[in-house]
């Protein structure tokens, strides 16, 4: 086994990690800020891919799809929060979990009715086809683009949460919503926006994944599992934890692929089990 292959494998792992991070981010944000375990996350990811595909078909440009899908699904997420999730705040954690679980079935069936149950092709945008020579091997330009988008989204998210007044309110609201209400902040508006943001991020992950795999109504179910693993390893509710865990899982999968590729799915769960045994709260989670 030569060093080039190991380096290449490491790089593939980091790139896969970026895809896992964007898939997990929305789930992590909604749980961290609202305490809602969003089981419709995978379905929103899938709806995002279809929305992006649809806009791209109508406008003839991938870029409009990439821009429009997160906004469309983000608005849809706000509607879901306002109409469905809001009445359940203050009840046990299971209630919104069951609700979003049911919602995911509704979304998958709705997409089946509109677009059919067969897969639909989502071509890679022509500007981003082809491979780049990294020196140690070739890598698809589109995947490098995805890594770039993920980094950009993370920077924007960090700036938004750490450097703006809105971000301050969101973080404070996550710590103690009652005090925020006493201080005269309309916390429900914040929750609305946070849920929309989480849904929008799920959709962004879906559009980005579209050109890498076939787009079909069941594509979200696997993503949901991956997102959960990443979120749990990182520590439920910790944004930084999700990011580090995503990259870690990507590298673990990639390195396993060198020796026993058939174990690539299991290694993700094995890693989760080990982390939970040693640190039940996850790498960056706080003990409740």
């Amino acid at each position: 086994m030569d060093a080039e292959l190991i380096l290449m494998q490491l790089f593939s792992g980091v790139a896969l990690g970026a895809i896992l991070v964007i898939a997990a981010l929305g789930l992590s944000i909604i749980f961290g800020m609202l305490g809602v375990v969003n089981f419709a996350h995978g379905a929103l990811f899938m709806v995002g891919a279809y929305a992006g595909l649809w806009v791209a078909s109508v406008t003839g440009s991938f870029w409009w799809g990439l821009l429009a899908a997160p906004i469309m699904v983000g608005v849809f997420g706000m509607v879901v929060e306002y109409v469905l999730v809001r009445p359940l705040y203050g009840r046990s954690i299971d209630d919104p979990l069951l609700l979003t679980f049911g919602l995911s079935y509704v979304l998958v069936e709705a997409v089946r009715m509109i677009f059919g149950s067969d897969g639909i092709p989502f071509p890679t945008p022509p500007q981003l086809t082809g491979v780049w020579d990294l020196g140690v091997g070739f890598f698809p330009i589109y995947r490098l683009f995805v890594v770039g988008v993920v980094i950009l989204v993370l920077v924007l998210l960090w700036l938004g949460l750490e450097k703006t007044k809105f971000g301050l309110i969101v973080r404070a609201g996550a710590r103690d919503p009652t005090i925020m209400k006493v201080l005269g902040v309309d916390i429900s508006k914040v929750w609305l926006l946070v849920f929309g943001l989480g849904a929008g991020l799920a959709a962004l992950g879906g559009v980005l994944a579209g050109p890498m795999r076939s787009v079909n109504p069941e594509m979200g179910s696997l993503v949901l599992a991956e997102a959960f693993v990443v979120t749990v390893i990182g520590g439920l509710g910790s944004l930084l934890g999700s990011i580090i865990a995503g990259v870690l899982v990507g590298i673990a999968i990639s390195m396993t692929a060198l020796f026993a590729p058939e174990m690539a799915t299991i290694v993700m769960f094995a890693l989760m089990a080990i982390v939970l045994l040693i640190r039940p709260e996850g790498l960056f989670g706080k003990l409740a």
Binding site: D2, L5, M8, Q9, S12, G13, A15, L16, I19, L53, A56, S57, V58, G60, M113, I114, F115, G116, S117, D118, G119, I120, P121, P123, T124, G130, V131, G137, F138, F139, P140, Y142, R143, M212, R213, S214, N216, E218, M219, L222, V223, I253, S254, A257, L258, P261, E262, M263, A264, T265, I266
Partner: protein
């Protein structure tokens, strides 16, 4: 992009008609006694995964099976008896399939079972029909169903087996000394196909430069690509089914592997080619039991296509769909020859049957009841070479029906 929209709208229509068909099936379900009143009707049970990831292929199977039944009924049935098809959803689950099959036998008193699409589910159905002594025409790929330990004298295997498909593909793509890398799904189908390819590889004198397994249902194959490239094969052999095929080929192409090696698959799937587009599949070679394009050379294919088009608004039959037709039709021909539904007589008739109903001459081999039939080797066309939306593949070879390509009866464990 515009043809994506067209695809979407076309799908809507075909889906609507599929729903109408399902509705008709459901109304039969609702009042089974009504159809049985006359009660000399010949009833055939048809378990197939109407829901789940193989739903598209399953619906095609039902349409084709209904066509075969209709053609016999239009000619006055068999000895004056009408034929009824009882479609059940096996949900791509062995337990569900076994339960539905048992119900079909016990409650609906079917005279035979035809169907199932996945190899594992097929073996579950086979257990039930073997135990109950009911004729089963299987239309899913499997090698083990031919082997002595799984053999049932009531079972006839209309589908190709991995041995035939992988062998044919290898004979037309492997050369002596060629370097081959294998990527296979880590479950029965992948293992059986890999075994078929390696047997052919040894006979041809090609060389394996590496074998990788991937988890069943994986969505991302990127971490496997550097290793596949570093093996420096001339041929990359990808043995997986359904969406795994679409995803793995798409990502291999994204990683530029197609420029360096030829991609071959055991079964080139019509629906998966539609799901990822012509650019991705261009040049990929794989086997098939049926392709509608055979109609230019084979009169029975033309007749089947025309009848299918007339019954389905101009749609064409697909590979796995055609199994529904040939499976039902061969059984009905045998019942006709046997003069009814007596199990022993129908088995004898099936063993003696020579049929040519969609793809050229076929017959069931006596020892293991495998259908001896032609095997197609197809190559996915370049977009600019496609004459229509459905002009997907070019027929590279049509290996005529021959026992030579099968394992011999003694090799399978049968005496003599």
């Amino acid at each position: 992009m515009t043809d994506i929209i067209r695809n979407i709208t076309q799908k809507k229509i075909s889906r609507r008609s599929a729903l109408a068909g399902l509705g008709a099936g459901a109304s039969l379900l609702a009042m089974p006694w009504a159809a049985r009143a006359a009660d000399d009707t010949i009833r055939i049970g048809f378990p197939t995964p109407l829901t789940g990831p193989f739903a598209a292929e399953a619906k095609d199977q039902v349409k084709s099976a209904e066509l075969a039944v209709k053609q016999f009924n239009d000619k006055g049935g068999i000895g004056g008896r009408k034929i009824e098809l009882l479609v059940r959803d096996d949900k791509l689950n062995g337990g569900e399939a076994a339960t539905r099959t048992l119900e079909l036998i016990e409650k609906d008193k079917v005279h035979a079972i035809v169907g199932s699409l996945s190899s594992a589910v097929q073996l579950a159905v086979n257990e039930v029909t073997r135990a109950r002594g009911v004729i089963y025409v299987s239309i899913s790929q499997s090698d083990t169903i031919n082997e002595l330990k799984d053999f049932s004298k009531f079972t006839f295997h209309e589908a190709l087996n991995p041995h035939m498909t992988a062998g044919a593909v290898a004979r037309h793509t492997f050369k002596k000394g060629a370097k081959v890398a294998y990527l296979s799904a880590d479950y029965a189908y992948g293992h059986e196909m890999l075994r078929g390819f390696k047997r052919a590889q040894a006979a041809i004198g090609a060389e394996s430069v590496g074998e990788l397994l991937h988890p069943f249902g994986a969505a991302d194959y990127s971490t496997l690509m550097p290793r596949l490239r570093s093996m420096r094969p001339e041929i990359l052999c990808i043995s997986n089914f359904g969406r795994d095929q679409a995803n793995s080929i798409k990502q291999a192409v994204d990683f530029g592997l197609k420029q360096q090696m030829k991609i071959v698959v055991p079964v080139l799937l019509h629906n998966q080619r539609l799901a990822v587009g012509p650019e991705v599949f261009e040049g990929v070679v794989g086997g098939a039991n049926y392709y509608w394009g055979l109609e230019s050379e084979i009169p029975s294919a033309k007749a089947f296509n025309d009848a299918f088009r007339a019954a389905n608004n101009g749609a064409i039959p697909t590979d796995y769909g055609a199994y529904g037709y040939t499976g039902i039709y061969s059984l009905l021909l045998a019942m006709q020859a046997a003069g009814g539904t007596d199990t022993e007589k129908v088995i004898a008739a099936l063993e003696d049957l020579k049929y040519n109903i969609a793809k050229g001459p076929q017959h069931y081999r006596k020892c293991d009841h495998q259908s001896i039939q032609s095997v197609l080797v197809l190559e996915s066309k370049k977009k600019s070479d496609m004459k229509s939306d459905m002009d997907l593949f070019q027929v590279v070879a049509n290996e005529p029906a021959s026992e030579e390509v099968l394992r011999s009866c003694t090799e399978l464990g049968f005496p003599g």
